[in-house]
Each structure stands twice: as structure tokens, then as C-alpha cells.
Symmetry: C2
Subunit: 223 residues, 2 copies
Amino acid sequence: MATLYFRLNPHLYLRDPQQTELGQKIISASVRLIDTLGFEQFTFKKLAEDIDSTEASVYRYFENKHRLLQYLVGWYWTWLEYRIDLFTSSLPSPQEKLKACIKVVASEKKFDDTFEFMDEEALHRIVVSELDKTYLTKQVDSDNREGLFGGFKLLCKKISAWVSEINPGYAYPHTLVSTILLTAKHQIFFAEHLPSLTDLNNTTTRHQQLETFLESLLIKTIT
Amino acid sequence: MATLYFRLNPHLYLRDPQQTELGQKIISASVRLIDTLGFEQFTFKKLAEDIDSTEASVYRYFENKHRLLQYLVGWYWTWLEYRIDLFTSSLPSPQEKLKACIKVVASEKKFDDTFEFMDEEALHRIVVSELDKTYLTKQVDSDNREGLFGGFKLLCKKISAWVSEINPGYAYPHTLVSTILLTAKHQIFFAEHLPSLTDLNNTTTRHQQLETFLESLLIKTIT
DNA sequence: CCAGTTAAGATAGCATTACTATCAAATAAG
DNA sequence: CTTATTTGATAGTAATGCTATCTTAACTGG
């Protein structure tokens, strides 16, 4: 069988975790652990114990836990772009593409068994809670120079191009798109933890509401 | 002289830092240090050395550095609401209030010498870089129960009420307002560090552009 | 003015974290 | 079969995030 494989920026890791058994165990276990413990409480020691390996071995794959998080988030953006391509490639107009795109961005992520070692639902929860931590650091500029945020930037660029196709005169396509991508995560977090900051309620229709909100935000702003 | 004093949620501190000299030194120095070092590199030990005091003394004011950050951000939201009140109270219509409000939210913060111990410009930079860290933690729910995010929530509620006044049928006033408040910070960060995620350029007109973007986002979405 | 409370400084200590380094065992590749 | 590579095992270290205790300084009420 043909396995789908995402080629991520090599600066994100020391040894490619997708290539080895230990590497894949590190990914699966870290997703599960960060999801349950939160990123601050997560350590390489706990991870190593969890997979019956050692701290030293984990350090051979990732420089530190922050890089590991950046790797996971990088994987997430690549995966999201892949899904957006899937649902938009057949659509003729940028309007339809944007709507389908919003649908993917706002949707509850269902388990995608294309990738055995990745629990996409847990990863989605991690992105909701930890995404901002990947770039809100003092090293953001050097990290950026190494291209560690390429996944996010690429996706933002692609969607912004559709916006500009619809309204070439609109001055803030990237600003608008990055706002929408971030808002999709933040509002889910608020619905779960700080409900007075949102109108989304914490139910099954939550993602439908988010989609409605984001779509009207996008469409009304650019037309 | 009558000094303006913000009454913040007492759960934010152990001893009120506004009341004592040491407390005020802790605030001033921590703002300066977090601004230069970043929150991760900032420690109570460095802070204590900086103000020629001891770690133990700092711990008598704040449970830990995370609470101190929450205190600073709480102070910021209270201060922002105070400024918004200042610029909107005389305006008759919610439309005008919202526009003035966006102006305050998007504006470059100029030093406000009403508060001697607070460097508002540095604090603003801290909020841009560290705001999300105040609630993106595993303890967010218990922190929220203690009312630690009251400043943000109150401001969001006030502005949302204006939105609902203009369009009572709009279903997402809080979602829209919290998005705008966060976006104001994130886009400044992007302009400085991840320019391909924004169209704001890193110049003096940056805040004017941000204001234009936010205003059109808000007005077009609710009308 | 003295007694008593409170704030602050001084110092010590401790478990955990975030690494780094070294060496040996297992395994896979030529 | 030998050699390079990967992993495991173990040790160690500086910094972090506290907690505890003791003393001195200051200020407060009677």
C-alpha cells in the first residue's frame, strides 16, 4: 500500500521520527501525553518512561520539547492543507473554495486512519491549546529564519490568494486569513473554558456555529 | 493629589503590590524584565537580584511568576477599559462608541503618567507577546472560577453590548469582540516577527492600518 | 516608651527540569 | 564477518521553582 508521508522542514527534528519505529512511538506517545498533561507538565523523562525508552534516546530525535511541539504543529498544518486541497480542488470558483475551506478549518476533526501513528483528534486538541506557544517565544525570529513556521505561512498564503481573486482591491487578505485560522482555535478553547468570551456553546453544534461565524466574517469583510 | 488606583481581583496576589514600596518595585522591575527577557527566561531570582531583594520576599507578594503575569495582564485590561470609557463616555451612539473603542484598542500606547510605577508601553509589548499564556494552561478552569480573567471578560461584555445595540439579531457579539481584542495583539506580533502572516507593515502607520482593518471587520460583519 | 505584630532580608535546602556526556549492547548493512 | 549506526543504561550538572526557618527592622496600639 502507498503510505502518505509528509515531508516537514528538517530543522524541526534531529532524526526524522517518521522513519523509525522509535520515532513513531515518540510521536504517538507525545501526542497522547501532551493532550493529557498539557505542554508545561510534559517532559522528555515522562515520555521516555511511557515508551520504555530513555531521555537520551528522545533527545536524539528532538533538540528539546519545544521543537517537538513545533514539529507536531507543523505536521498539523501540513495535514490541514492536504485536507483543504482534497475538498477544494474540484471546485471551480474561489468563492466555493473559500466556503469549503472554512468548513474544513472549522470542522470537528474525525480520525483519519491514513496515518497509523497519528491520533489526529488528540493533535487537534493540542493545536487548540498549544499552537500559540510555538511562536510566542524570544527565539521566534531565528526559528522563523529556519522556516519552522512554513506550514502555517504556506496555508495562509494559499487561502489569501483566493481572497485576492475575489476582491483584488482588498488590502488585508493575509491579516484576515491568519485571523480566521487562529480564531478557529481560540474560539473552541473559549467555548470549553471561558464561555463568556464567546457565543459558541459547548455542544455538538459548536463547529457548525463556528463555521457560520467564520464564513460571515470572511465573506462580508471582503465584499 | 488624588492617585488613581485599580482594584484588581485579590486572588491575583498574596499581598497587594500597589500598597507598598517593595510591591511597586516588584511591578516596575518585573515589567521591565519580562519585556527584555521574555516570560520564559524571567525568574523570581533574577527579579529579586534586580531590585536588591530576595526570592522569598517576592514570593510573599505572588504565588508564582504565572500569577504575576496574570496580575499584569489583569491590570492592562482594567487600564484599557478605563481608557475606552474616557474616549467613549461622551459619545451618543453605539456606532461612534465602537469606532472610538477600536481606535483605543489599536492605538500605539503612549506613556500614561497617571501611574508612576507602571511603564505602559512595556506592558503593552508584554501583553502582545504573553497574553495568551495567561489562560492557555491546564489550570485555566480553576483560575477562571477564581475570577482571574475578570478584566478581559468585563471588557468583552461591555463592547459586545454596543454591538448588540446596533444589531440585536447578530448571533455572535462576544465571539466577534473577543476575536477583535485578540487580533489586535496577534497582528502586531506578526507584523514584527512573522510578516508573511499579515499585511500590516512594521512602520509608524502600522496602528492606523490595524485600526482600518479591525473597524471594517467589525462594522461590515454586524451590518 | 515599651510590647507586640508585621514586613523584609538572609540563608538553606530540596525535588524536578532540561539538558550533556560516556560507554556498552544490540542490530543492520556491506 | 566486521563495521557503522542505533538504542539503552547510567551519571552528572546547572538552573528552576519552590518551601522553610530564623533574624532584624519597622511600625502600631496602649
